[in-house]
């Protein structure tokens, strides 16, 4: 009964073009963001470090991939590679210029990732669909191979590991072993909030429409004057920028130190699953999908002890994997267009409730 839009009239196109045209939605989103910023007050170290920080970082990567795959329709399996570029380049930049703000280093690394993405996006003019996905695997394997092979990227550290050096922002330690989880959480959250908004603005404007046009029917898009090559390459660049920033944060705000294994093909797949489960072509879906993939296993681990069930740890692990798999299948059967679509349907039902029509 509360969720009603009756009486909310739009008198200008500006008002009609808002991201959340319904007042209740706006209130809800503002409350959600405020609540997200207040979380460190109540959450403990474990929750922040093991659950929320990776969830937020992977949300950012999922938004990046969703721009490319969900909006521009270019299937990519190179996410892990582009994230690795972000992580390793942040490391190179911040060790080469220790005085440079580390967050700027992350953004610069994102730009480098964008350039790399641009290069690996070149085949997309000729290849489509699954074939393009296989071509992007080249990015995944080549980039990791390069970082393993060339010592320069890890400053010739014998272990081949990059470690986040301690860096401060406004006198507060933000990276390195002494940075506290709440600080890193707030940084990651700010990145996500800003870039999610930017992504939403992109997809509702000219660029988003030209991406979707290419996705839905590339021939018609070309006829109305969209240049497929430029449009696809822009999608690759911006998507890789998001993945690069996420990769930088992944090393500096989450893992602390990383080898190339952290960015292997499994990461690419899990980000792809996030956007498929969350909803292709939806910014909210990227975040919901990331929440599903990162949090459900943790929930399944913690649930049996909560209800007083104790079982051997290996059995528990197996059951967890099985449940997780069946949940994914269940979601895809119930709503192939993802959790974002379910959320939308729920909102539409709630709008009319308690009436059926």
């Amino acid at each position: 009964m509360i969720y009603r839009e009756a009486g909310q009239f739009k008198t200008s196109y500006g008002a009609d073009q808002m991201i959340f045209p319904i007042l209740q939605d706006r209130i809800f989103v503002i409350l959600a963001v405020v609540a997200a910023y207040l979380v460190p007050l109540i959450a403990n170290e474990y929750w922040l470090q093991a659950v929320l920080i990776p969830f937020l970082i992977l949300s950012l990567a999922a938004i990046g991939l969703n721009l490319l795959t969900g909006y521009a329709g270019q299937l990519s399996l190179g996410t892990g590679g582009f994230m690795a570029v972000g992580g390793y380049m942040t490391y190179k930049i911040t060790t080469a210029f220790p005085d440079l703000n580390v967050l700027i280093a992350v953004l610069l690394a994102g730009l480098i990732a964008a350039l790399v993405g641009l290069v690996f996006g070149i085949p997309s003019l000729r290849i489509k669909g699954f074939y393009l996905a296989v071509a992007t695997l080249a990015a995944q394997f080549f980039i990791l191979w390069l970082f393993n092979k060339v010592g320069w990227f890890v400053n010739y550290s014998p272990s081949g590991t990059i470690t986040a050096p301690p860096r401060t922002l406004l006198g507060i330690m933000v990276t390195g072993p002494e940075a506290t989880a709440p600080v890193r959480y707030l940084i990651v959250l700010t990145f996500l909030a800003f870039f999610a908004l930017a992504a939403k603005n992109l997809v509702r404007g000219r660029i988003g429409r030209s991406w979707m046009a290419i996705r839905d029917m590339d021939i018609a898009a070309e006829i109305i004057g969209i240049r497929p090559y430029q449009t696809k390459l822009l999608a690759f660049a911006i998507s890789s920028f998001y993945c690069g920033v996420a990769g930088g944060l992944y090393v500096f705000c989450y893992l602390g130190s990383a080898e190339t294994e952290a960015f292997d093909i499994a990461l690419s797949f899990s980000v792809l699953f996030m956007i498929i489960i969350g909803g292709l072509g939806s910014i909210l879906g990227s975040i919901l999908g990331a929440a599903f993939i990162t949090m459900v296993p943790i929930f399944l681990t913690n649930a049996p002890p909560l209800i007083g069930l104790s079982m051997p740890i290996d059995l528990q692990k197996h059951i967890e994997v099985m449940l997780f798999g069946s949940l994914i299948v269940f979601f895809l059967i119930v709503e192939p267009r993802g959790i974002a679509r379910l959320w939308q349907i729920a909102k539409e039902k709630f709008r009319l409730w308690p009436f059926p029509y």
Binding site: S12, Y13, G14, D16, Q17, A198, A199, N201, L202, G205, R206, I207, R209, S210, M212, A213, R215, D216, M217, I219, A220, A221, E222, I223, I224, G225, I226, R227, L234, I238, G281
Partner: protein, 264 residues
Amino acid sequence: MTQKARQIGDTLLKVEGVSLTFGGVKALTDVSFEIREHEVLAIIGPNGAGKSSMLNVINGFYHPQEGAITYKGETRKQMRPYAAAKSGIARTFQNIALFKGMSTLDNIMTGRLLKMHCNFLLQALYLGPAREEELRHRASVEHIIDFLEIQSIRRTPVGRLPYGLQKRVELGRALAAEPDLLLLDEPMAGMNVEEKEDMCRFILDVNDEFGTTIALIEHDMSVVMDISDRVVVLDYGRKIADGSPDEVRANPEVIEAYLGIRHN
């Protein structure tokens, strides 16, 4: 028929000696005709006569092996889709080519992409110029939505719309580009009588109000004879007739192409 507000003017587009082959298949052979400003030109012919190929050549989707296309005084051997769109050629397709995942409004907005220039940084922030540009184009798209009487389906994903409305949205997308030359590939195929009448009205109104030159392909002869100023007839990739509807109707070759000849 009422007197038109705009007079038919000079040649807008001239096709000279265009030949198009796909391997051994000759789609078009030495076709020449011209489209004049502000006129409604119909291209007709039996199935496989090369009508759609002709439109594809005009807006640069197919590249003819021979011949030249003169558009707005500029002669080219072949058009490119981007250049054609940029210089004011818009079209609709025989099989609807809308962007199915997007709403009616977004589909029509894509028609204005070439007129929008804000870079992605401004767009990502949705600041001043980007916002202003978006709203300005929204206003002109709303004008088209009003014109085509599709206000009620503004937010509906086009994949869910019935066929007739999809055709109308596609016309809207072409109109959004404010074209000088509008190519319509069978705008009335598969429609019932009311929908055809609506579509005819829109085509004539576009021609009359905006002065848009229209080249259309249509199979419904009564429609063709009613709304077009001139008719070009293709058969087996060759032009067999060109003239006013009445001249074409009386042309023995056209009758032969459509009805066959009597064998004694």
